[in-house]
């Protein structure tokens, strides 16, 4: 029989995933809940966390808690200031911040970096934990691609996150679909690989971004793309624009692609289309689980 030793969570704006570890670092229970930062309602962070300690998690309030993600932002439970890149696993352990609570809660800091060559600042929260989670089993140098609301492309060298950039690909898709003229003609979205890759191609080879997205409207007006395929066309344009920008900076380097579900399928197709021949997929939840335990161990060993 195993003994519970740590409760950890990836706690973001939308998602919340809770993990229970035994003393050897094996995850013995998991729970997902609808308490992302934007869904907290009147609950405090502590109340929200206690509210999910049910089932396998019941009666374990005495355990240490370790949280990563937007819960450590200025709008979160307590701010865990961004640590500077290059950053190691030790940087994250050193930057842990205790939450103001009766519970024993530590929050993982985010990272900030200048994106290479541009002088633009970038920030991440949650992805750093996933990257170090994957590095536990595969410590080699290289690029990590973490698709999402704000996609990250991170370069790891010598066990450190050296630099990274952000693309607002997921959020752009959502706001254009819900709030712009481009969403007006979209109907009952269904996937279509050919239309998706047409979007990827146009997003890659037409760098006039504000212009190429308008083709979502005109391709519909002239019946070139069916209403139910317009969303997949738009997603192709956006993912293509993201990929070509990184391609120009880094070439077709091997990449580790981190995440889950249909979104990562799309990135896999788009990366293949763009000529990336060395793409390895990693499960996003497993990466968080592994990263949170690695940070916990490093803290405990001090």
């Amino acid at each position: 029989m195993t003994t519970p030793s740590l409760i950890a969570a990836d706690w973001g704006t939308t998602n919340f995933r809770l993990f229970l570890y035994d003393e050897a670092g094996q995850v013995i229970a998991r729970h997902a809940a609808n308490i992302g930062l934007k869904n907290l309602g009147v609950l405090s962070f502590e109340q929200a966390l206690l509210s999910v300690l049910k089932g396998d998690f019941a009666g374990l309030e005495h355990l240490p808690f370790l949280l990563s993600g937007m819960v450590g932002s200025r709008q979160g439970w307590v701010e865990a200031p961004y640590a500077a890149c290059p950053a190691s696993l030790q940087t994250l352990a050193d930057g842990l911040v205790k939450a103001p609570s009766e519970l024993d809660v530590a929050i993982v800091p985010g990272l900030f970096a200048e994106s290479p060559g541009t002088g633009l600042l970038n920030v991440m929260r949650g992805e750093e934990t996933q990257i170090f989670g994957i590095l536990q089993s595969d410590p080699s140098d290289g690029f990590f691609v973490l698709p999402g609301t704000h996609s990250k492309w991170a370069l790891v060298r010598g066990g450190k996150v050296e630099s990274f950039s952000t693309h607002m690909t997921g959020e752009m898709f959502q706001v254009l679909k819900a709030h712009s003229i481009l969403g007006l003609l979209m109907e009952n979205s269904t996937d279509n690989e050919e239309v998706f890759l047409k979007g990827v191609e146009r997003g890659m080879y037409n760098r006039a971004f504000l212009s190429v997205i308008f083709s979502v409207r005109t391709e519909a007006l002239f019946n070139h793309i069916a209403p139910e395929h317009l969303a997949t066309y738009l997603s192709g344009i956006l993912i293509g624009a993201e990929i070509v920008a990184e391609l120009e900076r880094h070439g077709k380097s091997p990449v580790r692609l981190v995440g889950d579900g249909a979104l990562v399928d799309l990135y896999e197709k788009a990366l293949a289309f763009a000529g990336f021949t060395d793409v390895t997929r990693f499960d996003g939840n497993a990466a968080s689980e592994s990263g949170l335990w690695a940070i916990h161990k490093l803290r405990s060993s001090k």
Copy 2:
């Protein structure tokens, strides 16, 4: 004393501007009303038009009406199908469509074109009338820039609109400000030329569009740009991205800049920053007035 001979309007999604002409084509009365397509409510187009025939326009229902803009779109009063480029003033007169009404209402067609070198389709409604309005007094070849929700860059040769492209610059600004994370940190916007031009520069020289816009958030997080200047910074990035795309296609050609108010001031600054040395401004309302009359005369002379 002058005799009223024509009522014309530029009738768009948001704006509605009504003009009354005497027999010589002089505008003798003007009226602006809040009956853009999105504000019609339960009114039919005919009811809305009749509702604004007050004051100088009272009792003139018997005159011919000529309308340009989104009123001729599929969501408008009646669809006036897009005419193909290259298109002349005659093309517009030939493409007039009568509205289903007791009134004598004709609607100006929009234009469509393949944007040069990309194969992407583009459409305009209303801007074609403004361009031909300006050509009445200045018929020379060259580029027209019409900033707005969907900015247009049109090339005129030999009295015809030969091709044009669209940039969703204005709409992108609105949706990102109102509906994305970039708007969250914005406060009480005030203009700041230095910050605006910093945005223009970054929009021009960093082609990773989805990445450079994220700097609106990070420049705020790290207190590099004050909350009240974030909106002007974002508008700079977007206008810079639009200008550099056209610069790559056409170089720093002379441009005629068409429109009104603060938006055109911004474009004038950004174009100067980008190195366009030959920029001439034209008033947007005057351009519409002149274009509508020119179409009317051509139709009447048949």
